[in-house]
């Protein structure tokens, strides 16, 4: 992170080597096009540099911090581009295969994601998809489905707690 703060090329490339693929993959799934995913990846690493001084490894993992930036930027773009078609995403109870990785932190995160998805019911997976991957608020979901806002909030909280429990026991990175 010290290298990143100084704009050191090697530090940026090392960070990209670890997280470039998950960031790009997330962008592609949320935003639906290669161009948007590439723009997102650039924005994520620039934002990471801007916020590097605020990263505190004692309070969280680097992978969490970086993917939170990526997700926030992507959701913000989804919500800002009113009328833009949101890509259709269906979460299944297994993390799909893709190009392999040797990064232990990323492997661990993918394992945790697998455990989390297995723990969710079909309804919870759909709810998480609409909120996390399509950027819908609880109110929007409640209005679309014609169910009470409180019910949506409770279900979303229950689903997130299940995901959190699947996270428990992971080490720090």
């Amino acid at each position: 992170m010290e290298g990143l703060l100084c704009g050191d090329d090697d530090a940026i490339r090392r960070l990209y080597a670890r997280f470039g693929r998950p960031v790009y993959s997330l962008g592609l799934r949320l935003l639906g096009s290669r161009e948007a995913a590439e723009e997102l990846a650039q924005d994520v690493f620039v934002t990471a540099w801007r916020k590097a001084a605020r990263f505190d490894p004692s309070r969280g993992r680097l992978s969490t911090w970086l993917m939170t930036i990526a997700h926030n930027l992507a959701v913000d773009r989804l919500r800002r581009e009113t009328g833009a078609r949101r890509p259709t995403i269906v979460l299944v109870d297994q993390v799909p295969d893709g190009p392999g990785t040797s990064d232990e932190g990323v492997i661990e995160e993918r394992d945790a994601a697998s455990r989390a998805l297995e723990a969710l019911t079909d309804a919870e997976r759909k709810l998480v998809t609409r909120a996390y991957f399509q950027g819908h608020t609880a109110r929007e979901i409640a209005e679309a489905d014609g169910i009470p806002l409180g019910t949506v909030k409770t279900r979303l909280r229950t689903a997130m707690i299940k995901v959190r429990r699947a996270n428990e026991g992971k080490g720090s990175m």
């Binding site: 010290e2 703060l5 100084c6 704009g7 090329d9 490339r13 990209y16 470039g20 998950p22 790009y24 993959s25 997330l26 592609l28 799934r29 290669r34 590439e38 650039q42 924005d43 690493f45 934002t47 540099w49 801007r50 916020k51 590097a52 001084a53 605020r54 993992r61 992978s63 969490t64 993917m67 939170t68 930036i69 997700h71 926030n72 930027l73 959701v75 919500r79 979460l91 993390v95 799909p96 893709g98 990785t101 995160e109 993918r110 994601a113 989390a116 998480v128 909120a131 991957f133 950027g135 608020t137 609880a138 979303l156 909280r157 997130m160 707690i161 995901v163 959190r164 699947a166 996270n167």
Partner: protein, 256 residues
């Protein structure tokens, strides 16, 4: 906002879909409530895990170079190492205080409001750049300080304007200062709210303004214990949320 209220909003907060107003309220609560902060951190980690549930896709090879170039393009201007954050030096505090009252001094001239506002804006923008230069040169100031300025513009068919100054300091508290004039709104649309905006993190409130001076002027100033680096714009809204003034922050470059 109670812990119960905050806990109810935390799932949406970590997913990033709360309104800026709610997100800001949650953030303020988290600043002092360790229990909710712990819960928020755990949910944040859970949310980040979901990001790894999508099928990994190999990015195009040229993306790496583009990312490096994008970071390099901004890093030389703002690349500073973190340091111990402490209070703002007294001389700097004094300078900012002078700036905060600058608009009031300019108010009260004769003539039409529109004319007075335009004159005040022209003078104030010059004054704020002089202030930025003063802050940059002040004895004892951290040479790694970065000053950002924004011209606040009003939407079409409205008058009014102002400017914002943000001091980013690796060794002291960051500061945001906003002053404006010519904003004409009925009392029922007060208080006004002044926010720092960011694409990456929830917006943060600089302050509320309950009353305006006779020329529709006002100002706010706030010190922050966290960095203001992620924020790139300033907005002034009325009580209905209508944008009255908006401006994009850019790094102040002292004349060579």
């Amino acid at each position: 906002m109670s812990c119960l209220d905050v806990r109810e909003l935390l799932p949406e907060h970590v997913i990033g879909v709360l309104t800026p107003h709610d997100a800001s309220s949650v953030e303020r609560h988290l600043e002092w409530c360790a229990a909710c902060r712990k819960e928020s951190g755990e949910l944040q980690r859970a949310a980040a895990t979901l990001a790894y549930s999508v099928a990994p896709v190999e990015p195009p090879p040229e993306l790496e170079d583009r990312v490096v170039e994008a970071v390099r393009a901004v890093a030389p201007r703002r690349g500073t190492r973190p340091g111990r954050r402490r209070g703002v030096p007294l001389i700097l505090a004094a300078a900012l205080s002078i700036a905060a009252v600058g608009w009031a001094v300019m108010a009260g001239r004769s003539g039409e409001l529109r004319e007075r506002v335009q004159q005040a804006l022209a003078e104030k923008q010059t004054a704020n750049r002089n202030l930025a230069a003063l802050i940059a040169q002040v004895e004892g100031a951290d040479p790694a300080n970065v000053i950002e300025l924004a011209d606040l513009m009003s939407p079409p068919k409205r008058i009014g304007g102002g400017d914002a100054l943000v001091l980013l300091s690796p060794s002291a508290n960051d500061v945001a200062l906003v002053a404006f004039t010519g904003v004409t709104v009925p009392d029922r649309r007060l208080p006004l709210e002044v926010w720092l905006q960011s694409d990456a993190v929830p917006d943060v409130l600089i302050g509320r303004i309950d009353t305006l001076d006779t020329d529709g002027g006002g100002g706010v100033r706030r010190w922050y214990t966290h960095s203001l680096r992620p924020y790139d714009a300033v907005v002034v809204r009325d009580a209905r949320g209508t944008v009255l003034l908006h401006g994009t922050l850019s790094v102040y470059e002292p004349a060579a």
